[in-house]
């Protein structure tokens, strides 16, 4: 057959739909993505049935019009994700051949390809390892086979073959499939449709439901569903996963004829996740039960048992949980943050959010380059970010970074709050350069204020200062000076808070009592109701208050 007309195409569609219909339950059982609700087969079947019905109704010699009817039927009946994708695949397909009375091998392949392109355009983020991938691979194979194809049947063989191969690869592309151990359900549905097409072209009959091979997939999906349901090992009610086959014994069947429905019914009282598949000779059973012995004895009434497998699911489950816990354990200090501060409270605070080492130092007691290098070498880090937290230490830190023979960069933070903001932006997955950049951005996004006392009479930035007054410094500039610590702090904070600010962090020093700090905090929250205040005991000398606004 070198070309087909509308009537032949209608037959193909009918056969494809029939084949999918036969296997819809199996497709359902594979459904774990995007939502594991086990309805892909049902949905695709309904979509395809609607398409096939419309095609049969409007079947005519002109293939373009027949395909249009198919496309319309699919669109109207589209159900579920895969159903919608199927309708898109054939919408593109039919669009491409709408004016053709007959379609050649080449045109058929191209139309498939066009269908795939159409389908891909309808989604922002195509997920690979799904029906889309299977359709794409099959169409690509078809197009590259055009010149070699003897006729349409030959082309369809190639399509089916590649679709099957692509389906097998879906678990490599979509992790959830691999985890469960199944192939993609929508992809499988499409393979059935194509198989139907091929059988029609060959004039063959398709095998009726393929039963036994599907048990493993059924078991896998059933397990996936139950694993997802349990958070704790103790929640498992039926602890043994029991699988066995019964070779039906004709003698035993004389007094007790085998009835699958009854068999299923009676077994279901022993547990859950029950699966029963049977033909004339064997019954395959999978059940989760607390009494595996009873299930086996029950099966034995009908014949000899083979291939028995019983697993303790509580053990398996706690193993999985343990493995997840171990995986979560953090890596040791390969990637370190070294920072500088005064006051044991601040050092603790810095460490609690991720600093590997805090070098004691700051205003009036700057650590040397050597101090910094030593601290880093003690950690034994491979990559390090240095946060000086003071204008006067940036130079020393930069020298230290040069001296070190490991990857090191300085984030030039000028105050403790900047350092805190920078550490919070740290991402252990990112490169040193990237971190340095992101952390610098975080540091500059906050406003820093400090309160300290004057050591002599002077006038700076237009503010006259007397010895022993307290000075409020915002972003390195002195903004106010008053004899009362409380007043100057309140004034400083008030001047710094803008409309978009949400959080004020106050780190109070060793000379300030917690009550005093609480009072300032209460004052701020009262004055600015859009602001939250966080209070920390920094125990730093010289600066009664260090604060940040962001």
């Amino acid at each position: 057959m070198s070309s087909i007309n509308g009537l032949q195409f209608a037959k193909m569609v009918e056969m494809g739909s029939h084949h999918l219909h036969q296997n819809a339950d199996y497709v359902d059982s594979l459904n774990v993505f995007p939502v594991p609700d086990g309805d892909t087969g049902t949905n695709m079947n309904l979509s395809m049935t609607s398409g096939a019905k419309e095609t049969t109704l409007h079947a005519q010699n002109h293939i373009g019009l027949t395909a249009q009817a198919f496309s319309k039927g699919l669109l109207m009946g589209a159900r579920g994700n895969s159903g919608v994708i199927l309708s898109q695949l054939f919408r593109g397909f039919s669009k491409r051949i709408e004016s053709k009375a007959q379609v050649s091998v080449q045109q058929f392949a191209e139309a498939l390809q066009y269908g795939v392109e159409t389908a891909y355009k309808a989604v922002m983020k195509p997920v690979e390892g799904t029906i889309l991938t299977v359709a794409k691979d099959a169409a690509t194979a078809a197009v590259s086979h055009i010149d070699k194809a003897e006729d349409l049947t030959d082309l369809m063989e190639v399509i089916v073959e590649e679709a099957r191969a692509s389906l097998k690869r879906t678990p490599d592309l979509l992790p959830v499939l691999k985890e469960v151990g199944v192939v993609d359900s929508g992809g499988q549905g499409l393979v059935y449709v194509y198989e139907g097409f091929l059988a029609c072209l060959k004039g063959e009959d398709l095998p009726e439901k393929t039963v036994m091979h599907s048990m493993d997939d059924l078991v896998n999906t059933e397990h996936h569903r139950s694993v997802q349901g349990f958070m704790n090992t103790e929640d498992i009610i039926f602890g043994y996963c029991t699988e066995f086959m019964v070779k039906l014994d004709s003698d035993k069947l004389l007094d007790m004829p085998f009835d699958e429905e009854k068999f299923r019914q009676e077994l279901s009282e022993l547990g859950d996740s029950l699966l029963v598949i049977s033909d004339e000779e064997v019954v395959k059973v999978h059940i989760h039960t607390e009494e595996p012995g009873d299930a086996l004895s029950y099966g034995q009434k009908y014949g000899a048992l083979t291939k028995m497998k019983i697993e303790n699911m509580r053990e398996q489950h706690s193993e999985i949980m343990d493995r997840e816990l171990t995986n979560a354990a953090p890596e040791q200090h390969k990637y370190a943050i070294v920072t500088v501060s005064m006051g044991s409270g601040i050092a603790e605070l810095l460490k609690s959010i991720g600093a590997s080492a805090v070098i004691e130092g700051g205003q009036t007691m700057n650590p040397s380059t050597e101090d910094i290098v030593k601290a880093i070498q003690e950690i034994g880090a491979e990559k390090v970010l240095i946060l000086p937290n003071n204008k006067n230490i940036i130079m020393a830190a930069e020298q230290a970074a040069e001296v070190l023979d490991i990857e090191a960069m300085v984030v030039p933070t000028k105050s403790v709050p900047e350092g805190l903001a920078a550490i919070l932006a740290f991402n252990p997955e990112a490169t040193v350069e990237k971190n340095a950049q992101v952390m610098q951005e975080a540091a500059s996004s906050i406003k820093t204020g400090q309160v300290t006392n004057a050591v002599r009479d002077t006038s700076i930035d237009g503010v006259s200062i007397r010895k022993d007054d307290f000075m409020g410094i915002a972003e390195g500039k002195i903004t106010s000076s008053e004899p009362s610590l409380e007043a100057v702090t309140k004034r400083l904070v008030s001047s710094m808070i803008g409309e978009d600010d949400e959080i004020v962090t106050i780190i109070y020093g060793e000379d300030v009592t917690e009550d005093d700090a609480q009072e300032i905090s209460a004052y701020i929250e009262q004055q600015f109701d859009h602001v939250d205040v966080e209070l920390y005991a920094g125990k730093q000398p010289l600066y009664p208050y260090i604060l940040s606004v962001e």
């Binding site: 579920g80 994700n81 898109q88 919408r91 392109e117 159409t118 355009k121 309808a122 983020k125």
Partner: protein, 120 residues
């Protein structure tokens, strides 16, 4: 606004942004969704598709009593069965929010703000 959950260990706060991100990511993976759109397209001057960082403009989380509702604004692809695509988004969003955030959403309301016609 944020969603606050209480359990015996304390409270968990999730900002609207976080939920919008989770919901938006789930939605754009759905077949037939071209992207997220803004709730107030004219006011925000964003007539087209939202970028990831702006998902919150198109995902509104409301709490009424104990029930959570999500309103979301999307752009779909021309030629798909829009009702079905919307239904898929609802189901995927409910599933994802339940799985990732442990929240049961009472309703997911889809507002189709646009249809993108591609050149086919």
């Amino acid at each position: 606004m944020s969603i606050e959950l209480k359990n015996e260990h304390g409270t968990i706060d999730m900002t609207n942004d976080v939920i919008a991100q989770v919901v938006g990511e789930a939605a754009i993976e759905c077949y037939g969704i071209v992207g997220m759109a803004s709730q107030h397209q004219i006011r925000d001057g964003l007539t087209e598709i939202l970028r990831k960082e702006n998902f919150a403009r198109g995902v509104i989380v409301r709490k009424e009593g104990d029930a959570f509702h999500i309103d979301m604004y999307v752009v779909v692809s021309y030629g798909t069965k829009i009702t079905e695509v919307a239904y898929q988004v609802q189901s995927k969003v409910q599933y994802t929010v339940k799985k990732m955030l442990g929240l049961t959403v009472s309703s997911v309301n889809i507002f189709v703000q646009g249809v993108r016609v591609t050149n086919v």
